[in-house]
C-alpha cells in the first residue's frame, strides 16, 4: 500500500466519484479521497470544482487531514474567493486551539491565502499569535507578517504589525529573532519607497549577533544578510562585528559561509588596521577553498563569487591556484569558471604550473572547453610578460597537433600576442602559414590575414597567400573581407612594385561588387588615399596601433564594488547589479562603505543640492577614503582620523562664510566656495578673487606678427577669460609708411571651435606709427578641427594692403568654464573610469605656494578643488576642470610640506589636453 496508487486513477467521471467520496460519512474514505484530490492537484489537474466538498472536511481533529485540506486551500482559494470565506471561521477557531502546532498551522495557512476578504479577518488572530506564549507560534506569526505585507502593505503598516515585528527582534528565542529578521529584510526589500522601514542601530545589531550564535543555519543566513546591509558607525564596531562573524566561516552550510564572506568583504573596506585586514584575509581563503569540494552546483556559485573576490582582493587566493585545476569529470559550467579564475590568478610565480595545466586541457574532448583553454594561454602571455615566450612555444606545440579547432583558436590568440609584443615572435610566422588551408572559421581566417598583412615585408610569398584568399572573396564573411582589404593595402604600401594588380583587384571587388556598405566605404577611402597621397595613406594604414589591454573582461570598479555588496546573491552569479534584472526593485543600490570612518558614513541618498547653492561637504572623508583605494599607491598606514583643522566643524563654518560672502558681494553666482580652506585663507581668497571682477590669469602679450612679415602691420596679443567669455586682446601697430584701413579677421578651424563673436573693430584709418588696442570677443561654437599643438590658432587678418596670416597659441586656461565643479561622487567614479594610461604626471618646481593658496589661486581660474586631504604630512588636492567642449579634466596635486616641488597628475579621457593643462597650472601658479 503506497501513495502511488493515487496517481493512477484514470476513470471517467473522476471528479464526480471523488465528490461522493468526500461527502462520505466514513472518516477513512474521506481521507483517502482528499489524498486523491491532492495527488491530482500536484500533477497539474484542475480539481477546483471540489472546493466546497474539500472545505467541508476541514473541521476535523485529524491533523493529517487538516494539513491536506489546508494545502488544497492554498492552491485554490484565489480562484474561489467567495467559497474561501467559508473557511475563515475554522481558521479563527484554530488560532485559539490549545495545541500550538494547530495554532501555528492556521496562521501559516491563512497567510498563504491571497484573498483580500480573508486578510481582513487575519489581523486579529495574527496579533494574538505574535504575542503567543509558544515560540513556535510566534516565529510562524513573524513570517506571516511578511506574507501579509506582500498581499497588502498598507494594512500591515496601519495595524502596527511592523512595530510588533521589531519587538520580536528582542525575543528570548533565537529562532523567533531569526524569523523576525528574515521577515523584516523581506519587507524592507519589497517596500515601494526603497528605503528601509526599520533602521538598524547598534542595539539591534547586538541582539542579532547574539542570536546568530544560537539560531539554525538558515536563521544565520538571514541575520548575516541583514548585517551586510548595516553600515557600522566606526572602525571599532566593524572590527568587533567581524570578530564575531568569523566563526561562521567554519560552518558546514555553504550558504552561511558565503554570507559571512560577504559581510567580511564589506566591512574590510572600513577597517584601516592593516594587520587586522591581513588576518581576516588569511582566514577567508580556507573556507572559500572548501566550498570547491562540495556539490558542483555549490561550486559553481562559489566560483562566480570567487571571481569577484579575486578581482577585488587578489591576495586572498593567490596561493591557492591548485584548487582551481580542472578535473575532467567536472561539469562544463564548473570547468569554464575555474579556467577564468586561473587566468586571473596567473602571475609570474605560478605561470609555469598554469601553462602546463592549460596545455593539458587543450587536449581534452570538450570542444568549447578546449577553445577556452587555448584562449587562456594567449591571455596568460599578454598578462604575464615574462611568460610570453613560453606561451608562444606552447601554442606552437598545439598547432603541431593539427587538431582543427585548436589550430584556429591558437592563431586567433597569437594575433593578440603579436599586437601586444610587436616584432618579437615573428619567427613563428612560417609555421602559422603552413596551416593556412585548414582555417575555416571567419575569426581565425581574419586573424591570419591580419598577421600576413602586418608582416608582409617578412613573408616572401605574402602576395600569393593573400591572392589565394582573394579567390573566394565574395563568399567570405564580412569580417574576413574587411581584413583582407586592409591587409592587401598594407602589402601594397610595403611592396608597391609587384602588388599593384592585386590591390586594384581587391579595391574593385570591395567597391563595385560588394553590397556591404562598410566594406565599400573602406574600399573607397583606401582608393582615394592611395590615388591622392600615398604618403598619407602610409601614415594612416600603417599607423602605430594602440596597445591592447591586459585583462579584457575586468569588471569596472564601481560595478565590482556594488557586486561585492551582493556576494552570495543572484547578482553575484550574473555579475550584474540587481537593479539590472530584478523586477520592481527601485533604485536603492548598495555601496561599499567608505574607508576611514570619520564621523559619518556614506549616505545612500545622492545629494541633490544644485551647484549654485552653497555646498557644505560633510562627507569628504568618504571621498578621501575611496580615493585612497584608487591606483595612486596608497601609503601602508592610513591615519585613522583627519587632522583637526580639516574637521567637519571648521569646514562648515568656512563653507558657510564663503557662501555668505558670495551673496554679499553679489558678483558671481556660480563661484562655489573653496572646498576646504581654513577660514582666514578662504575669506581672503575670495575677497581677492572677487574684488576686480572675474578676470582669470592674463598671460603677457606676445608678438604674433612682426612688422616684417605683416607688410608693416605688427600685432601682439594675448587671450583672456573675463566674465565667462573668452576674448582676444591685441595691440595693432602700424609700422608702415601709409595708413591702413578695412580690417577684418578670420580664424581657421581649430581644436576648440573658437570663432570671433563680433567683427574686428579697428579705428581706421590706422595712421603710420599709430598703435591701438583691440579687444575681440570670441565664442566656441565654430567648426572643430584638431590642431597640432592642440591650442594652435591660425588667424588671417585682412586690411587694405593684403591678407596676413599668423598663428597664435591660446593658453588652455581660457577654456576652463565656470561650471567646472564636479560632484564628488561623479569625480570619484570618473577618476576610476579613466584608464591609468591616460594619467600624465608633471613636476611643478620652485613653487612658493601652500595648499591653501593653490586652492584659491586655481579657483580664480575655474579650477575647482573637490577634496583635499593630508597623507603623511603631504597635502593632496583633487581638482576638476571643465573645458568649453565639455571635456572634463581631473587633476591631483601633491604638495609636500614646505617643499617647492609639486607633483601634478592630469587625468582625462582625452590625453591630448594634459600638456596644456600643465602649462596652465604652471602659468597660473607662477603669476
Amino acid at each position: 500500500m503506497t501513495d502511488a496508487k493515487y496517481f493512477t486513477t484514470t476513470k471517467k467521471g473522476e471528479i464526480f466519484e471523488l465528490k461522493s467520496e468526500l461527502n462520505s460519512d466514513k472518516k477513512e474514505k474521506k481521507r483517502e479521497a482528499v489524498k486523491k484530490v491532492i495527488a491530482s492537484m500536484t500533477v497539474g489537474k484542475d480539481v477546483s470544482a471540489l472546493f466546497p466538498d474539500v472545505v467541508n472536511c476541514m473541521q476535523t481533529d485529524n491533523l493529517e487531514l487538516k494539513k491536506l485540506v489546508y494545502l488544497y486551500l492554498m492552491n485554490y482559494a484565489k480562484s474561489q474567493p467567495d467559497m474561501a470565506i467559508m473557511a475563515v471561521n475554522t481558521f479563527v477557531k484554530d488560532c485559539e486551539d490549545p495545541n500550538p502546532l494547530i495554532r501555528a498551522l492556521a496562521v501559516r495557512t491563512m497567510g498563504c491565502i491571497r484573498v483580500d476578504k480573508i486578510t481582513e479577518y487575519l489581523c486579529e488572530p495574527l496579533r494574538k499569535c505574535l504575542k503567543d506564549e509558544d515560540p513556535y507560534v510566534r516565529k510562524t506569526a513573524a513570517v506571516c507578517v511578511a506574507k501579509l505585507y506582500d498581499i497588502n502593505a498598507q494594512l500591515v503598516e496601519d495595524q502596527g504589525f511592523l512595530d510588533q515585528l521589531k519587538d520580536l527582534l528582542s525575543d528570548s528565542n533565537p529562532m523567533v529573532v531569526a524569523n523576525a529578521v528574515a521577515a523584516l529584510s523581506e519587507i524592507n526589500d519589497s517596500s515601494p519607497s526603497g528605503a528601509p522601514l526599520v533602521e538598524m542601530n547598534a542595539a539591534t545589531i547586538n541582539k542579532l549577533l547574539t542570536a546568530l550564535n544560537e539560531c539554525t543555519e538558515w536563521g544565520q543566513i538571514f541575520i548575516l544578510d541583514s548585517l551586510s546591509n548595516y553600515n557600522p558607525k566606526d572602525e571599532r564596531e566593524a572590527q568587533s562585528i567581524c570578530e564575531r562573524i568569523t566563526p561562521r566561516l567554519a560552518h558546514a552550510n555553504a550558504a552561511v559561509v558565503l554570507s559571512a564572506v560577504k559581510v567580511l568583504m564589506k566591512y574590510m573596506e572600513i577597517i584601516t588596521d592593516q594587520e587586522f585586514v591581513s588576518v581576516l584575509t588569511r582566514k577567508l581563503a580556507p573556507p572559500l577553498v572548501t566550498l570547491l569540494s562540495s556539490e558542483p552546483e555549490v561550486q559553481y556559485v562559489a566560483l562566480r563569487n570567487i571571481n569577484l573576490i579575486v578581482q577585488k582582493r587578489p591576495d586572498i587566493l593567490k596561493h591557492e591556484m591548485k584548487v582551481f585545476f580542472v578535473k575532467y569529470n567536472d561539469p562544463i559550467y564548473v570547468k569554464l569558471e575555474k579556467l577564468d579564475i586561473m587566468i586571473r590568478l596567473a602571475s609570474q610565480a605560478n605561470i609555469a604550473q598554469v601553462l602546463s595545466e592549460l596545455k593539458e586541457y587543450a587536449t581534452e574532448v570538450d570542444v568549447d572547453f578546449v577553445r577556452k583553454a587555448v584562449r587562456a594561454i594567449g591571455r596568460c602571455a599578454i598578462k604575464v610578460e615574462q611568460s610570453a615566450e613560453r606561451c608562444v612555444a606552447t601554442l606552437l606545440d598545439l598547432i603541431q597537433t593539427k587538431v582543427n579547432y585548436v589550430v584556429q583558436e591558437a592563431i586567433v590568440v597569437i594575433k593578440d600576442i603579436f599586437r601586444k609584443y610587436p616584432n618579437k615572435y615573428e619567427s613563428i610566422i612560417s609555421t602559422l602559414c603552413e596551416n593556412l588551408d585548414t582555417l575555416d572559421e571567419p575569426e581565425a581566417r581574419a586573424s591570419m590575414i591580419w598577421i600576413i598583412g602586418e608582416y608582409a615585408e617578412r613573408i616572401d610569398n605574402a602576395d600569393e597567400l593573400l591572392e589565394s584568399f582573394l579567390e573566394g572573396f565574395a563568399d567570405e564573411n564580412s569580417q574576413v573581407q574587411l581584413q583582407l582589404l586592409t591587409a592587401i593595402v598594407k602589402l601594397f604600401l610595403k611592396r608597391p612594385a609587384d602588388t599593384q594588380e592585386l590591390v586594384q583587384q581587391v579595391l574593385s571587388l570591395a567597391t563595385q561588387d560588394s553590397d556591404n556598405p562598410d566594406l565599400r566605404d573602406r574600399g573607397f577611402i583606401y582608393w582615394r588615399l592611395l590615388s591622392t597621397d600615398p604618403a598619407a595613406a602610409k601614415e594612416v594604414v600603417l599607423a602605430e596601433k594602440p596597445l591592447i589591454s591586459e585583462e579584457t573582461d575586468l569588471l569596472e570598479p564601481t560595478l565590482l564594488d556594488e557586486l561585492i555588496c551582493h556576494i552570495a546573491s543572484l547578482a553575484s552569479v550574473y555579475h550584474k547589479p540587481p537593479s539590472a534584472f530584478v523586477e520592481g526593485r527601485s533604485g536603492l543600490r548598495k555601496a561599499l562603505p567608505a574607508k576611514l570612518a570619520g564621523e559619518t558614513t556614506t549616505s545612500e541618498a545622492p545629494s541633490s543640492s544644485s551647484s549654485s547653492a552653497p555646498q557644505v561637504i560633510p562627507s569628504q572623508d568618504s571621498l578621501i577614503g575611496d580615493l585612497l583605494s584608487m591606483d595612486i599607491n596608497p601609503p601602508a598606514v592610513i591615519q585613522p582620523a583627519q587632522p583637526a583643522p580639516f574637521g567637519g566643524g571648521v569646514d562648515l563654518l568656512g563653507g558657510g562664510l564663503d557662501a555668505l560672502l558670495d551673496v554679499g558681494v553679489g558678483n558671481t553666482a556660480t563661484a562655489p566656495p573653496p572646498a576646504q580652506a581654513p577660514m582666514g585663507g578662504g575669506l581672503l581668497g575670495d575677497i581677492f578673487g572677487l574684488a576686480p571682477s572675474t578676470t582669470t590669469y592674463v598671460a603677457p602679450k606676445t608678438l604674433w606678427l612682426p612688422a616684417v612679415k605683416g607688410k608693416g602691420l605688427e600685432i601682439s596679443g594675448t587671450f583672456i577669460r573675463k566674465n565667462g567669455q573668452i576674448s582676444m586682446e591685441m595691440t595693432l601697430t602700424n609700422r608702415a609708411m601709409q595708413a591702413m584701413s578695412g580690417f577684418a579677421i578670420q580664424f581657421n578651424k581649430n581644436s576648440f571651435g573658437v570663432i570671433p563673436a563680433q567683427p574686428l573693430q579697428v579705428p581706421s584709418p590706422l595712421t603710420p606709427n599709430q598703435s591701438c588696442d583691440v579687444s575681440l570677443l570670441l565664442n566656441t561654437s565654430g567648426p572643430v578641427q584638431k590642431m597640432d599643438p592642440l591650442n594652435n590658432l591660425q588667424v588671417a587678418i585682412k586690411n587694405n594692403i593684403d591678407v596676413l596670416y599668423f598663428a597664435a597659441l591660446i593658453p588652455l586656461h581660457v577654456y576652463f568654464t565656470e561650471d567646472g565643479q564636479m560632484d564628488k561622487r561623479i569625480f570619484l567614479s570618473t577618476w576610476k573610469e579613466i584608464p591609468t594610461q591616460n594619467e600624465v604626471q608633471y613636476n611643478l618646481s620652485n613653487m612658493t605656494h601652500n595648499s591653501d593658496t593653490v586652492v584659491q589661486k586655481m579657483q580664480q581660474n575655474n579650477v575647482f578643488t573637490i577634496a583635499k586631504r593630508n597623507v603623511e604630512g603631504q597635502d593632496m588636492l583633487y581638482q576638476s576642470i571643465k573645458l568649453t567642449n565639455n571635456v572634463w579634466v581631473l587633476t591631483e596635486i601633491k604638495i609636500p610640506p614646505g617643499g617647492s616641488l609639486f607633483t601634478l597628475s592630469v587625468k582625462s579621457v582625452t590625453v591630448d589636453v594634459a600638456p596644456g593643462v600643465y602649462q596652465a597650472y604652471e602659468n597660473i601658479l607662477r603669476s
Binding site: 503506497t2 495545541n99 513570517v143 566563526p247 559561509v257 559553481y300 543572484l570 523586477e583
Partner: protein, 399 residues
Amino acid sequence: MEKHWKSVISRSVCDYFFEEQKKITSPIDMPPVLATPHHYLITIFRCNMYFVAVCTTEVPPLFVIEFLHRVVDIFEDYFGECSETIIKEHYVIIFELLDEMLDNGFPLATESNILKELIKPPNILRTIANTVTGKSNVSCTLPSGQLSNIPWRRSGVKYANNEAYFDVIEEVDAIIDKSGSTVSAEIQGYVDCCIKLSGMPDLTMTFVNPRILDDVSFHPCVRFKRWESEKVLSFIPPDGNFRLISYHISSQSIVAIPIYLKHFISFREGRLDITVGPKQTMGRQVENVSVEVPMPKAVLNCTLVPSQGKYSYDPVSKVLQWDVGKIDPTKLPNIKGSISLQAGSAPIESNPAVNVNFTINQMAVSGLKVSRLDMYGEKYRPFKGVKYITKAGKFQIRL
C-alpha cells in the same frame, strides 16, 4: 510534482528549463542557475533527478541550493533512497515534509531528528497499524527539541546499549601527471558519527594532532570557542547519524599518495598495459581498487587480460572499467592487451585520464588520530569506537 509556498506560479515556467535541458549533452552539465523573464530557476541534479526551485526575487542561490540538497538528504533519510518511484509512492509524506521544511521561503525545520518527531517515517508495521487504528503518521504534538537551544537533539532519548561510533573518512583528491608526479593533491576529510546515547550526553573529542586541521566546518552542535582556544571538539550530539566535522587539507601541504599506476598506452599500436601498485600506505592493504579509463570515441573494443579481477568495456559510453580488488604488493595487478580502433579514424592525439578508486582501512592518510573521547552529563559508560578509512575521491591520473 510541484509545491508553492508563496503565490502560485504556472507550470509553464519549467519550459525554460526543458529547453535548456535539450541543449546539453550530459545531465550533469545543466547550469545551476537559469534566468527566465520573470523567475529564476535554481537546479540541482541528484539521484538522476532534477530538483528545481523557482524564485521570483533576489535570493542567495547557495541558500536555495543548500536547501534543495537538504531536501534530498531528508528524503533519503526517510525512504532509504530517493528516486522517482519512491517520491510518487510517498507523495503525501513528501508534501507534509516540504510543508514543515519551508514557510514563505524561510526554512523551518531541516534537522531530520525534528522532522521525524513531527512526521514519522514510513515503515510497513506502522502502515498496517495506521490502517487498523485509523491513526496517521503525523504527530499531534510539537517536537520538544525544535525551539530549545540545542534544536538538533530531541529530549528523552533512551537506549539500552549506549554506543558511540566515529568514522574518520578521508578522501584523496589528486591529479597525477603522465610521469607520476603530483599536479595537485588534497584531502577532504569527514568525521561521521553514529551516536546512540541516552539523555543529554556532552562529549569531547581530542586529537593527537589537531594542528593538521586548519580548515574545518563544524556541525552546529560543536562549540566553536573551545575549538578555537583548546583545539578540542566539544558538543552535545544529535541523536543518530550525522557528520560532526568536515575538513580540508589543502594542496599546499604534502599529501601522501597511496597508489601508483605504471602505464603504457598507444593507440597507434593498439596496445594498452597498466600496472597498479601501492605507494605510501603505511603497511595497510589497498582494497576495492578499480580503474576507469574513458576511451576516445574511435575505440571500438578492447581485448585485455587482467592478472586479477574483472574488466569490462562499454562500447556505448566508451569506458573501460577494471575492478581490481585487493592489491598484493608481492604480485602487482596488471592488465594488458590490445585496443581495436575504428577503421580509418583519425590518429588520436589526446590521451585519456584515468579515474582510480580505492579504499584503505585503518588508516587516515593525513595522519589524523583521535586520542580520547570523554562524556560528561550522564552517568552510564558508553561503548566507544573509532574507525579510519582512506578512500579515493576524485583521483585522476593523466596518461
